[in-house]
């Protein structure tokens, strides 16, 4: 399992599954069980998902932002893990809890460490995103005062 190999796998996963929203491609990348070890603000945090559970998370997460795109900043591969820093943007085209769709572009940044099995499938992640930054954009777009 070379680091370069895992980084290419992860790039394919981000492009196909998260940028393009190819739900069926998920099966080529995921292990039978996927653990969300840490991900404050993600409704699935600390859950262990099977493939169908992950597909549902993907559908629900992408629905409000169907044109979303990750801009990978850096990948660090070490052992069974690849740490990814990223920028993200997506047009807010669907409602999310507390905020109706605005049609505005939202921007977010985050850092995610992905864990691989020896078979090079993804078995979980540990993630932090700048939730306060996106919350302030939502407040501003909704016409409210920023925090």
């Amino acid at each position: 399992m070379s680091g370069l190999d895992l980084k290419r796998r992860l790039e394919g996963f981000i492009r196909e599954v998260w940028d393009q929203g190819d739900v069926e491609a998920t099966g080529r990348y995921l292990a039978p069980l996927y653990t969300i070890h840490h991900d404050p603000g993600d409704p699935w945090e600390r859950r262990v998902l099977d493939l169908d559970g992950y597909k549902e998370r993907l559908r629900q997460s992408r629905a409000p932002f169907p044109d979303q795109k990750f801009d990978i900043q850096r990948l660090c591969a070490d052992g069974n893990a690849v740490a990814m820093t990223w920028l993200w943007n997506g047009t807010h085209l669907g409602d999310i809890p507390g905020f109706a769709a605005t049609g505005r572009i939202l921007r977010l940044s985050g850092a995610t460490t992905y864990f691989f099995t020896p078979e090079r499938t993804l078995t979980g992640h540990w993630q932090v995103t700048d939730r306060l930054g996106v919350w302030r954009q939502l407040q501003a777009n909704a016409g409210g005062a920023a925090a």
Copy 2:
């Protein structure tokens, strides 16, 4: 420059400089210039600091939380970079903008990629922290409604 070597250097830096607040130790770890490439919410974001500038950032950042402690979750070393995921806690003993000291323990999580020079000194970082999580704790401690 082995990955294990850089990870040990980074662990020493976090323990001595950030946990223990040893301002003079900073000089053993930092390159002459240190760039904060990305760090939403950090007042020094996008600035290039010399050693005195970094020491001032350290003093100001640590002052409200003098007993702060990083709990390193995982280190991924790759080339000149080490990606670190972490939990953090500190007692809120000094005022911060908008929030007077409460004496309560605050908890934060984040992920930071540190960049090294060939001489194994730190030359910058790219970081995201869960600012919304800490903001909600501050609001709750201040007796206000959580966001």
